[in-house]
Symmetry: C2
Subunit: 241 residues, 2 copies
């Protein structure tokens, strides 16, 4: 049995009961070293397989191999395992190795939802998730999605917004979207959601300081109606008050 578990943004209180139970049932915990650290109190008596970044396939295959020996394995990742996480890969690899092997995806609080709660209520209306990582998606596909998202006036949540190797991705994305979105559109930034370093910034597309953004940051760009009041970023649903 493999549980693919989303542990949420990092604060144990944002995990679901089902995630806690699944970790308890597991004999072996498999995950990227940063995520293992986040839950270290919960897994003191477990066998632990830590792996580095960009070794997703090896990590998931190892989880499958261990599960095939009859052990219960928990593959942990931050946020929700089904959103740019490990769920797809584990399902694909498990099916290849043994279609009978049971895989259970345990949902978690993804970064956009965690960040939205900190900012106020920015995703109260239609929104989309776009990852700015072009490691596995051609930049032209990303750019096309940015343009359509802007034309449709979606609120946009950016995953993997900016890293050392992709320092200009967010600026390029904003540039593209500003063909259709006003430069005054509200932007909410949350760093390290749910962790003790958590920090919130509310700005606009024109005024954003891209240096504030790294891979542990969630960036949410509002729609035409998004506004800021009393330090909160709010996208109205449409009630007449």
């Amino acid at each position: 049995m493999i549980y693919v578990i989303g542990i949420g943004p990092g604060d144990k209180r944002l995990m679901t009961g089902e995630a806690l139970q699944a970790i308890e049932k597991a004999d072996v915990i498999v995950g990227y070293v940063t995520y293992i650290k986040l839950i270290k109190e919960l897994i003191k008596d477990k066998e632990i397989v830590k792996t580095g970044m960009r070794r997703e396939i090896d990590r998931c295959q190892e989880a499958v191999d261990i599960a095939l020996t009859g052990k219960n394995v928990a593959v942990v990742s931050s946020g929700d395992a089904g959103i740019y996480g490990m769920a797809g890969l584990v399902l694909e690899l498990a099916e290849k190795s043994d279609p009978e092997l049971e895989v259970k995806v345990v949902p978690g609080i993804t970064a956009s939802i965690g960040a939205a709660a900190v900012l106020g209520a920015p995703i109260m209306h239609d929104f989309c998730h776009i990852s700015l990582s072009d490691l596995m998606t051609p930049w032209e596909v990303i750019e096309k999605r940015l343009l359509h998202a802007a034309m449709a006036d979606f609120v946009v949540c950016f995953y993997n917004p900016r890293s050392k190797g992709r320092a200009n991705h967010l600026a390029n994305a904003f540039q593209k979207m500003m063909e259709f979105k006003s430069a005054d559109t509200v932007v909410g930034i949350v760093k390290d959601v749910g962790r003790k370093e958590e920090r919130k910034i509310i700005t606009t597309m024109r005024e954003i300081d891209y240096e504030l953004v790294d891979m542990t940051t969630m960036v949410i760009v509002g729609n035409k109606e998004t506004y800021v009041k009393n330090g909160k970023m709010i996208t109205p649903r449409g009630y007449s008050l």
Copy 2:
């Protein structure tokens, strides 16, 4: 103090620890009668204010008024309170009544994430949320978003997909999207996520039986690469296996 709490899809094990704690701290629980029922075991000793549907403004104003008397109030809704939920409205009304009144949004597992875990891994790549309710959003705006979502090849999660009063909305939405999405695109349907009546169906845009869909149903339409294997709906991230 007002906590605006997303209680997840309905199974207590899908609530976060923070949501449980906030409910415990509350003196008064405010919510639509269906949600109150879902958590009735947790709130036996609390003052409860139940309201009917479509009385969102009254419900939230009542929560604000009670909080202004110094009590801790929990406004509960299913899924995540910040996604087509009560968070925006409570923040807006609280600010109007007393900008000093503290409002804390407590994140929850929204229906798309809960349904995705049941289906497999359908939202592993860029996706959007679109509500098909035209009570507060003109149908032209919804239609525009459907077209752009289809052109951008987003995975699409439908909220409020179909009700008695809007029996044809989902069929109309699919018709529009099929201008740009293949009729063979995989569609996942989950009814009553996380409740004992939970039911999962995997079909295509061409073959869907719209009668299976009602307001308690999540409908997820895949992208070009979404496939079905071993009963699971998977949108690949792009790893070469």
